[in-house]
């Protein structure tokens, strides 16, 4: 069946800069903002934008991601003529086939999937951004501008621009030049890694790129520059909402803290729900001595202690006299009575034993950072985990 636009979501990256948090799971399935996992954002955006066919390209440690996505029902993506598909790398006859060697190669290896739907356009997404975006508006502009490719761009400061792929725009408004992490940026329009391609054009460039032995098979490094070189029309779609890349511990922590403010990103908007697979726990309970201030709390939590400026995922327990400040507690994390967790990220099912102290207030030095404990760790009684520490699963602490 012919579709106007289908989405391909790149979810295979390791997320190596999240260290212990992605030791055993792919970055898109890292818990985020209370009830969510990172991938909930692009999946919900697709569903809300009317895109009902999404291929999710997985590669690194996909087990949890696969079971999380399941049939796609939590996002209403369980439809009969489309829906959400997990697309892992595969082997063909005569042992042809390979791991995905780059973002463009991942799509190339799934040409057959896309051709099933014979779409006019393909939306390329990545699974590590937090934002709400109506792809239907972007598609409309893409069609109006008759572009071969439309790239979502965000206005950033010129200092920040050195960390992004930057689009320079000509007088006609179309993209004239693309620079990856320029030292001296000429424009402040940063690529958000969200592309809509005319499928026939993309197909041609993917096949050509695959044949080029010198290519690194990457959208930003190869496909986009090649299209520019050949004079294709590339349109920058300006997005001015909340958008964060959560690829590092600091940015993940920062973005979680942003969820406490409804002015940055409103998750309570019934017109644009971000959906998630709910674990269906009892409602959260706040004890007789509990204090919860400027925080988000969700199902299954049992709070007896003090929680301030923090983001709690399902089934977190905070014991009596325990303190949780400026922290992110992932599902099933336990802070025992009298323990303190501050400026920290605590992984799934990690237990902070009584009297332990994780993290520290910022001291103004460059050495300071958010303390991180990976999943399934027990921090022993009275232990002190300093600022910027990174505790991996399996470590004795």
């Amino acid at each position: 069946m012919k579709k106007s636009c289908i989405a391909m979501l790149l979810a295979g990256g390791q997320g190596s800069r999240l260290y212990a948090l992605t030791q055993n799971v792919a970055k898109p399935s890292v818990p985020f903002g209370g009830k969510y996992r990172i991938i909930d954002f692009p999946l919900s955006n697709c569903a809300n934008s009317g895109i009902d066919t999404v291929g999710v390209l997985t590669q690194y440690k996909p087990l949890q991601l696969n079971s999380y996505i399941g049939t796609g029902q939590p996002w209403d993506l369980d439809v009969s003529d489309g829906g959400v598909y997990i697309l892992p790398p595969y082997l063909g006859a005569h042992e042809q086939g390979s791991w995905f060697t780059g973002t463009a190669n991942a799509i190339y290896q799934n040409l057959a999937f896309i051709e099933n739907y014979d779409p006019e356009n393909v939306l390329i997404l990545s699974g590590d951004h937090i934002y709400k975006m109506d792809y239907a508006k972007m598609l409309k502009e893409h069609l109006e501008k008759d572009a071969a490719c439309t790239i979502a761009v965000l206005q950033v400061s010129l200092e920040e621009a050195t960390r992004f792929g930057i689009m320079n725009v000509g007088e006609d408004g179309y993209v004239s030049e693309f620079e990856e992490k320029p030292k001296h940026p000429k424009s402040d329009l940063a690529s958000m890694g969200i592309y809509i391609f005319n499928w026939q054009k993309l197909r041609k460039y993917l096949i050509e790129d695959e044949a080029d032995p010198n290519s690194s098979k990457d959208f930003g490094k190869n496909i986009i520059p090649n299209m520019l070189k050949n004079g294709e029309k590339l349109w920058p779609y300006r997005f001015d909402g909340y958008w964060r890349d959560v690829g590092t511990i600091t940015s993940l922590w920062d973005a979680n803290m942003d969820m406490l403010s409804t002015t940055l990103i409103n998750l309570y908007d019934p017109d644009w729900p971000i959906s998630s697979r709910s674990p269906v726990c009892p409602p959260h309970y706040t004890g007789k001595k509990a204090e919860i201030v400027h925080s988000i709390v969700t199902e299954g939590c049992e709070i007896e202690g003090h929680v301030e400026n923090s983001v709690l995922s399902p089934s977190v327990r905070v014991g009596e006299g325990a303190k949780v400040l400026y922290s992110v507690l992932m599902p099933g994390a336990v802070v025992e009575p009298g323990a303190t967790v501050e400026y920290a990220i605590v992984g799934e099912n990690t237990v902070i034993k009584a009297g332990a102290h994780v993290g520290a207030e910022p001291d103004g030095t460059d050495a300071w950072g958010v303390a991180t404990c990976g999943p399934d760790i027990t921090i022993r009684e009275g232990a002190v985990i300093p600022a910027a520490a990174m505790i991996y699963t399996g470590e004795e602490v």
């Binding site: 903002g33 209370g34 009830k35 029902q73 939590p74 406490l260 409804t262 998750l267 309570y268 729900p273 971000i274 959906s275 998630s276 709910s278 269906v280 726990c281 009892p282 409602p283 959260h284 309970y285 706040t286 004890g287 007789k288 001595k289 509990a290 204090e291 919860i292 201030v293 400027h294 925080s295 988000i296 709390v297 969700t298 199902e299 983001v311 709690l312």
Partner: protein, 371 residues
């Protein structure tokens, strides 16, 4: 497939629940911040692997239909078998008035019961807060080898009627339906496992004699005339049948006790429900929340104590609530003060309004009401 079929009685329209059942049956009464009472029966069946289930309903069942939906939340949306909603069919007399009793309700769906492929039927009330380990009930039922097993309360149910008195063989000797003075025996939770053939026999006998009631007519016949053997399973956890506002309020308050909560929601037998909410609850800078249960998607900026707050509620700055139950989407504007109030869905309390009930007689505010 297990050789057991579930039947849930969800037709009860208890007058003592007053406004709370104006537009719903007791089984679809919202409970404990995110559930409806029928979730307990459905989840007990689901957790024992019983996925073929009939839900007997008679009237005011819109909210029940909406809640159960495709029954996917309990894995009962099956290609073969699964959950069936059973409004009255067959004789026209069943469409008017209320069912006179459980046997009449069963007879109203007799063709369904006859076609049940399994050998045993599990009967459960839809309006009971109890997480029953049906695996354990079935194990005991099969060991005893009786025609029937009655599920009874092990704790806390001070029932003045329907108590089972056991004989020396450990099986039921007789049922005490009413008793003046001190109750004796084991109080029934009105849940049963029956051999399907036996149940059909009881339905036929009652139909013939124009009798309707389960305990008074059917069970008495079964024990006295038919010489039926009935074992008793004592449910060790919390259980409460909800038939009045008082019982509803009491059960809601009970859930604030950790021990009760852990008996109703054990980790290995989760209570499943329809999922509405996609976002966590936010506590503001001045929020205070003590000894309360709160659903998701709420914004709590005021103070709550000993409260049950359902999802989607907004409690404004400076509002003070004590001992209240707020169902979904209630709004309490800044400065309002509520004590011992049960507010039905989407009720709204204006700025600085005051409404005080008493713990013995909580004030019920109907759905969509604006105070």
């Amino acid at each position: 497939m297990r050789d057991y079929h579930g039947i849930i009685f969800a037709y009860h329209d208890e007058p003592a629940l007053r406004d709370l059942t104006a537009n719903r049956t007791a089984a679809s009464l919202p409970f404990c911040s995110r559930y409806r009472l029928i979730d307990f029966a459905l989840s007990s069946l689901r957790n024992a692997g019983i996925l073929d289930v009939g839900v007997i309903m008679q009237r005011d069942y819109q909210s029940l239909l909406d809640h159960i939906g495709s029954s996917k939340a309990w894995d009962m949306s099956r290609k073969s078998g699964g959950l069936r909603m059973l409004p009255p069919f067959g004789l026209p007399q069943y469409h008017t008035g209320n069912y006179n009793g459980t046997i009449e309700a069963l007879n109203a769906v007799a063709t369904y019961i006859r076609r049940i492929p399994q050998k045993h039927v599990v009967l459960l009330l839809g309006n009971m807060a109890a997480n029953i380990d049906l695996d354990a009930v079935i194990r005991q039922h099969e060991k005893a080898g009786t025609d029937a097993t009655a599920i009874c309360a092990g704790q806390g149910l001070e029932s003045l009627h329907s108590n089972y008195i056991l004989g020396e063989d450990g099986l039921v000797q007789y049922i005490d339906l009413f008793r003046t003075g001190e109750a004796k025996g084991i109080p029934s939770l009105e849940g049963y496992i029956f051999k399907k053939d036996k149940l059909l026999e009881l339905m036929d006998v009652c139909q013939t004699r124009n009798l309707f009631r389960f305990h008074q007519d059917a069970i008495t016949y079964f024990l006295n005339e038919a010489g039926g053997k009935m074992d008793v399973y004592v449910h060790p956890g919390y259980a409460k049948i909800i038939r009045s506002v008082d019982e509803y309020y009491e059960a809601s308050r009970d859930v604030l006790t950790p021990a009760v909560r852990h008996e109703l929601f054990p980790a290995d037998r989760p209570v499943r429900t329809k999922i509405h909410e996609d976002v966590s609850t936010y506590y503001g800078e001045q929020a205070v929340s003590r000894n309360s249960l709160v659903g998701d998607n709420c914004i709590i900026e005021g103070e709550i104590e000993d409260c049950i707050v359902f999802s989607g509620c907004h409690i404004g700055v400076g509002a003070k609530l004590k001992g209240c139950i707020l169902m979904r989407h209630c709004v309490v504007e800044p400065g309002a003060r509520l004590e011992y109030v049960i507010a039905d869905k989407a009720a709204r309390f204006s700025e600085n309004s005051v409404l005080i009930g008493s713990p013995k007689l909580p004030t019920v505010v109907p759905k969509d009401e604006h105070i």
